[in-house]
Symmetry: C2
Subunit: 115 residues, 2 copies
């Protein structure tokens, strides 16, 4: 019988000091998916830059407030528990992330369903 990961770990535990840069932490490296925690604390995507990913991404904001922008000019205001699915090559930017409290994101990166 395979054993579970014996160490229960926690998504909401943060370092005492706010990080100067966004922090990306792998939580699960699996052949089918990569699960990652992202902590943002006021950081945004630099003006004019876009995320244009080769993978699908399902992402939920678990703490904080954030604003996403899409290439078609629409935006999405996210609060705790809000989630979106971002297909591969759906260009998006992070326009705003709260500092108090820091934003805690949980992202599931998946191979593209449509290639």
């Amino acid at each position: 019988m395979p054993l579970p990961n014996p160490q229960v770990q926690n998504l909401f535990q943060l370092a005492a000091a706010a990080p100067a840069e966004e922090v990306f932490e792998p939580l699960l490296q699996h052949p089918a998916a990569r699960i990652e925690r992202i902590v943002s604390c006021g950081q945004t995507t630099p003006p004019g830059e876009w995320y244009d990913q080769n993978e699908d991404e399902w992402v939920v904001l678990l703490q904080g407030q954030a604003t996403l922008a899409y290439e078609d000019g629409t935006t999405a205001e996210l609060g705790p528990g809000d989630y979106v699915f971002l297909p591969a090559h759906c260009k998006h930017r992070v326009m705003a992330t709260s500092q108090q409290p820091p934003c805690i994101w949980l992202a599931v990166h998946l191979p593209p369903a449509v290639s």
Copy 2:
């Protein structure tokens, strides 16, 4: 350019009335993974029964308090943000789930990494 899911949805929104049974809601049906929200409100795995799944599962408790038990006799007390990885056929039971507040779980079901 593929469009994102235009509707931001929320993990923490619950029905006004506590459900009599556990509620399993698919959040993403993807070829590589199935993401699901589970709401438990005092329900447990019936005595003597075990989950013995064909898939790997990464699961995080986002709200509430719960106790998992494994076949080797160990248990894990989970609170908000606590996550575990349950490989396929790692037999486990849910021994306890809080009613106030209800337990909100986020589960990512994945094909087994080791078959």
